[in-house]
């Protein structure tokens, strides 16, 4: 397939791995160099192509918090189910949010219990359902980082313009920069460099990450999602380390412009405002890390339209996702890994999605044993 196969070329990958090994040897650390990929899309590519096993031992990839489905806290899932269970409501959601467990089950279970929950591929599909069912309340379960924020925002603006009164959004959009900062501020951090999220950066540009380089002196390379993109970005991080540099570099220049996407940014600032704090599964509450709809769009805000319990359900005490996310622990070193916490009955965020680091390790370890 054109524009795809070129980025999966085995010979080029071998060259990159050789260069990465050479640089890692030149840097010569006693313990493995930790590089965090922030985005779940990168984690997916790393597992999908077996990239981890191709890298030399000196490189350890830490799979960061960037799977927006994994980091949804149980309380928000409970709220979502509460909305979906109200009479007359059609709840629309992206497919992979269906299996995320709340404190009393997932959306998949709520659907089996009779809630009208439908899978959509974009918020505009949800708006179409609302137009088709004027007698029903159609709620879109909006989630994701800046990548999916603009499409939700534009859909809300369209609903406003066309006066679609039975459409609303349960807003769980989160923003990546405060989260990277929270990780950088943790005292036990050993991460030496970051692969920056390509699709988020397509929207916000590369400037918002400057603090990572300037203030924390860590290299950050905004990376694409094909396997050669990931390998080249790892190589670029290592080159910065070898040169003693800490900069924000853009490997994904074919998609990401330095200033981001102006139209998308306009839509974001028109529709959302920052929440003072937002709860993350595995990381706890992070200041200014989530957004909600502005007052001007209050009537499209499901949280104001429906009685939402809003209960805060703390992560189970035994769960050590936070330490795994920061690279302090390997998945199998967590207290509940493989016992209380398995892919069938996940306790923590990282076991929820097949992209979660723990789910991936579990599959390998359980079967290889």
């Amino acid at each position: 397939m054109k524009y795809v196969d070129e980025f999966r070329d085995r010979d080029k990958a071998a060259v990159l791995v050789r260069e990465i090994t050479r640089l890692a040897d030149a840097i010569g650390t006693r313990r493995p160099l930790q590089i965090m990929e922030v985005c779940g899309g990168h984690t997916h590519a790393i597992f999908r192509y077996g990239i981890e096993g191709m890298l030399p031992e000196q490189i350890e990839l830490v799979h960061g918090p960037g799977c927006p489905v994994c980091v949804l806290p149980m309380g928000r899932i409970d709220d979502c189910i509460a909305i979906a269970s109200q009479p007359g409501v059609i709840l629309t959601t992206f497919g992979d949010a269906m299996r995320v467990p709340g404190s009393r089950g997932s959306l998949l279970q709520a659907k089996a219990n009779g809630a009208d929950i439908r899978m959509v591929y974009s918020p505009t599909d949800a708006l179409t359902i609302a137009r088709r069912h004027p007698d029903r309340e159609v709620v879109f379960f909006a989630l994701g980082f800046e990548t999916t924020m603009p499409s939700t925002a534009l859909t809300v603006m369209e609903a406003e313009r066309d006066g679609v009164g039975n459409f609303s959004v349960f807003c769980n959009h989160i923003t990546i920069v405060p989260t990277i900062k929270a990780i950088l501020d943790s005292p036990d951090l050993r991460i030496e460099g970051f692969l920056g999220p390509g699709h988020v950066s397509m929207v916000i540009g590369t400037a918002p990450y400057e603090f990572v380089a300037r203030h924390y002196r860590k290299p950050m390379v905004v990376s694409g999602f094909e396997p050669l993109d990931v390998l080249q970005s790892v190589w670029m991080v290592l080159r910065q380390i070898a040169d003693g540099r800490a900069e924000v570099e853009n490997q994904y220049a074919r998609v990401v412009a330095t200033g981001g996407n102006a139209a998308a940014l306009r839509a974001i600032s028109a529709v959302y405002e920052l929440r003072e704090f937002f709860e993350w599964r595995g990381l706890g509450s992070i200041d200014y890390s989530g957004v909600r709809l502005r007052d001007a769009y209050a009537r499209f805000d499901a949280e104001r339209r429906f009685a939402v319990p809003g209960a805060r359900i703390a992560d189970p005490l035994s769960c050590q996702c936070g330490e795994v996310l920061k690279g302090v622990l390997k998945p199998h070193q967590c207290k509940v890994f493989g016992t209380a916490c398995t892919p069938e009955t996940p306790v923590g965020a990282l076991m929820v999605s097949s992209e979660g680091a723990c789910a991936a390790y579990y599959r390998y370890a359980a079967k290889a044993a």
Partner: protein
């Protein structure tokens, strides 16, 4: 438009007329036309084909009922024929039980019955018994179909996952994921138009040539729900062996590749309805492939991997990039990813 009503399920004249006009007319054979409570088959006739009876059943609830490359009727016949054939059986007789939601257009029922009849004729099997129920709106989704099949296993043919051994070759008969992609696209809620047809086909003739060319064949299974990935995991578990795949050798249609790229799906888990996985001794692999390629349903046959004693019970993919990953059994359905 004439539709099926609850009176068609009442056991009276309306029901008899519907069954006669739709099913008896389409399937048209003396065993069925007798309309007894059972079809009667002489044992001596069965014994001519082999020494063991093969018996299987399958239900079909596909949505939509008609899709590019087939419909629920053809699916039922081919699926049941394949479930018999992968065990080395010669498929002979099928049953057809339908549960119909009131309001189903009778024309659609005619089309499905004729399609079943055509598929049965092509496969050389007869639909010899059946049942019709009509349920109120909402009690089922338009039409559910259950087909049961009887076949006879040839004397001397012995297939089973326990016979799989390290060194064996893993073969498939053509491009993967067509059926799953065609169904997803035909549902229409993806707003994606994909020129993909279901691969729905009866494989018993192909399997017959495969078994003649490779008498040592260990195991065959049709890779339906859960796709090739699921079948291989089942084999690895049952045989207590590892299976290693070469991603570059996995045959995929360009349109299916693109479809999966856009939706974040893995084609190895997509359903097929005319594709099989065969495990054959390495020494017979070339002959098995040549035999399959000589048949239209096996023209795209290829070797995608091998069985190993390393990492037992695990399916490992050597990726196109040169890395390795575990190909696991899914916990549930494959769900599209947002990121």
């Amino acid at each position: 438009m004439r539709t099926v009503t609850l009176s068609h399920g009442g056991g009276g004249k309306a029901m008899k007329d519907l069954i006669d006009a739709v099913f008896v007319a389409a399937f048209d054979n003396p065993l069925l036309a007798a309309l007894d409570d059972q079809a009667r088959v002489p044992m001596s006739l069965l014994a001519r084909y082999g020494d063991r009876l093969a018996f299987t059943t399958d239900s079909f609830v596909v949505d939509p009922l008609e899709f590019p490359g087939g419909d629920i009727g053809k699916l039922g016949v081919c699926g049941t024929v394949n479930d018999l054939a992968v065990g080395g059986a010669i498929p002979l007789y099928l049953s057809c039980a339908v549960i119909i939601e009131e309001g189903l257009p009778i024309d659609l029922l005619h089309r499905i019955a004729r399609s079943m009849a055509a598929a049965a004729r092509e496969a050389g099997v007869q639909v010899v018994t059946g049942d019709t129920k009509v349920v109120p709106r909402g009690a089922c989704d338009r039409l559910f179909l259950t087909t049961t099949g009887i076949g006879v296993i040839r004397t001397g043919v012995e297939l089973g996952a326990h016979r799989v051994q390290p060194g064996d070759a893993v073969l498939v008969n053509g491009v993967l994921g067509d059926h799953g992609s065609a169904i997803l696209a035909a549902r229409g809620d993806l707003a994606l138009e994909a020129p993909i047809e279901s691969d729905c086909a009866a494989l018993h003739v192909l399997i017959d040539s495969l078994l003649r060319a490779s008498p040592g064949t260990r195991f065959i299974r049709d890779a339906t729900r859960g796709g090739v990935a699921t079948v291989l995991n089942e084999i690895a578990l049952a045989a207590n062996c590892g299976i290693e795949l070469d991603e570059r050798a996995v045959p995929l249609r360009e349109a299916v590749k693109g479809f999966c790229e856009i939706l974040g799906l893995d084609p190895l888990y997509l359903a097929n309805e005319g594709r099989l996985v065969a495990i054959v001794p390495a020494a017979e692999a070339d002959r098995a492939l040549a035999a399959m390629r000589a048949h239209p349903l096996g023209a795209g046959a290829c070797r995608i991997g091998h069985v190993t004693d390393r990492r037992p019970r695990l399916v490992v993919m050597h990726t196109v990039l040169g890395g390795q990953r575990i190909v696991d059994m899914l916990v549930g359905d494959q769900l599209p990813r947002i990121c």
